[in-house]
Symmetry: C2
Subunit: 264 residues, 2 copies
DNA sequence: CCAGAAGTTCCACGATGCGGAAAATCGGCA
DNA sequence: TGCCGATTTTCCGCATCGTGGAACTTCTGG
């Protein structure tokens, strides 16, 4: 019946768990459209949306039109769609509230360790950076908030996936692949799973320049069952010595527990 | 048939223009729920939502459940609902993109004038602060981003409403009222409309301590037909002298034009 | 441990959203 | 400037999908 069902209320384009059923279809589709628009850097035309989503133009138009009316999408002069103002007005509030809780903890990390502290979230198959406090040194990482990375080459990714079952991790790796970013990147599923065993045993995860040459990063998961969060500290390898790691890990773990308790 | 229709796909709680028809009902309702949750500071229970929205518990539950499944709402241990992670992951991207465009302009304002610069947006009947760059002085305003204020007592509000027809402004004032915040607050509709005439004539709006005693603020609207934006500069009255205003207005106007061109 | 309330699931009805096709509009090319 | 193809928007009949009452389950407080 359908030829290319992509946002059709089925599994969203690339999601960890196929949450297929039970939901209100128009909602699933509409949010699919929003995410599709968000994924593009430029504004998107109706026909582009139609092809990438697999929805009929008329349905798409009705959904998009409703979203425009509500202010969550806006239609510019070229008739293309971009994310609307209501959307980040909505998110701004929750973002502010989240930051109010999170930033003090990250600042504490920076105060104790001196290097850039991050909060990351597992979203589907990707890891998204949610908040950040820059370190005290002038030479430091700059990962923009909102950026998404693959789990296999980051400390936060390892920390987050350590709580998943091996089968789930394998499935995820099959979907995302293990792209090589540096000579140190783990590119074999079994290698990565072995690493996760280490993470579980030690209680923290490390990225030894696997995403960016010369950058070392330590991360621990934030306990809590509703959100999959992890905090990390990262900096240039020379400064991120083994001694510093030894000091940093307990601080990270304590912070994670405190943060988890406050968020739950 | 219905007794208390509030989010029922009719006019959203307090919106400028009654955009009643043509939309997909479940979407309108679902976003109404999201905004309702966002409006509360604490997480909201299903029954609270039911009473404030006027929707039946079962409908509400289905909508909320779908939103939870999609990650735009999250259900905490107490079974109450809060805004979900996907929401600000969605907005984060667009917010970052917006800030990339906007902040340089605001920083330019601060560099030229020295006082705190704001970007505000007309959202329904309210004015929401979208971005801010703090001024150079240690004593300065602190309006949090995301905060909403009434248009009648702010420079940005006046600048934004100056482009509306008198009838629309009267209707808005009737809905929101003109609450008194300080002895200088304009509390009479006609008084406010006369002020708008001034704003149109001069090309900029001023708030003479009408929202907060001792705070003076100048604002101009950002040209552009899709978004209703305004930029402003505000500071303590002693520093915001008439001379400074004379200098600031042309800078504001030039910045507004530049910003408008870049956003359109 | 029980009672009341809040949350969740079920189900049949029909309003509501669906998508094909037609109409309107835009954009490009000569 | 005027025509043609592509894209967007509107229309409309059909069946699907969402709706809300009622029943059931799970919390919460006494």
């Amino acid at each position: 019946m359908n030829d290319v069902p992509t946002v059709t209320g089925d599994t969203p384009p690339e999601d960890g768990r196929g949450a297929r059923s039970g939901g209100v279809q128009s909602l699933e589709r509409a949010f699919g459209v929003l995410e599709l628009v968000a994924a593009h850097d430029r504004a998107v035309s109706l026909s582009e949306l139609a092809t990438t989503s697999g929805l009929s133009p008329s349905t798409l138009h009705r959904l998009a039109h409703t979203l425009v009316t509500l202010g969550y999408l806006r239609q510019e002069a070229s008739r293309r769609y971009a994310l609307g103002p209501r959307l980040f007005l909505l998110a701004e509030g929750s973002s502010a509230r989240l930051n109010a809780v999170v930033l003090p903890h990250l600042m504490h990390l920076v105060a104790e360790i001196g290097e850039t502290a991050n909060l990351a979230m597992l979203d589907g198959d990707q890891v998204a950076y949610v908040a950040q406090v820059p370190g005290r040194h002038s030479m430091r990482m700059f990962t923009e908030v909102g950026r998404r990375v693959q789990p296999h080459c980051t400390a936060v990714g390892k920390a987050l996936l350590a709580s998943s079952a091996d089968a789930d991790v394998r499935a995820l790796l099959r979907r995302t692949g293990l792209a090589r970013h540096t000579p140190h990147t783990l590119t074999e599923p079994e290698e990565f799973l072995a690493e996760l065993v280490q993470v579980r045993r030690r209680g923290y995860a490390v990225d030894e320049g696997e995403q960016e040459v010369g950058v070392r990063c330590v991360a621990v998961a934030v306990p809590g069952n509703s959100l999959r969060l992890a905090i990390s500290v990262s900096g240039p390898a020379p400064r991120m010595s083994d001694a510093l790691l030894t000091d940093a890990v307990p601080v990270l773990q304590a912070t994670a527990v405190a943060l988890g308790a406050e968020l739950e």
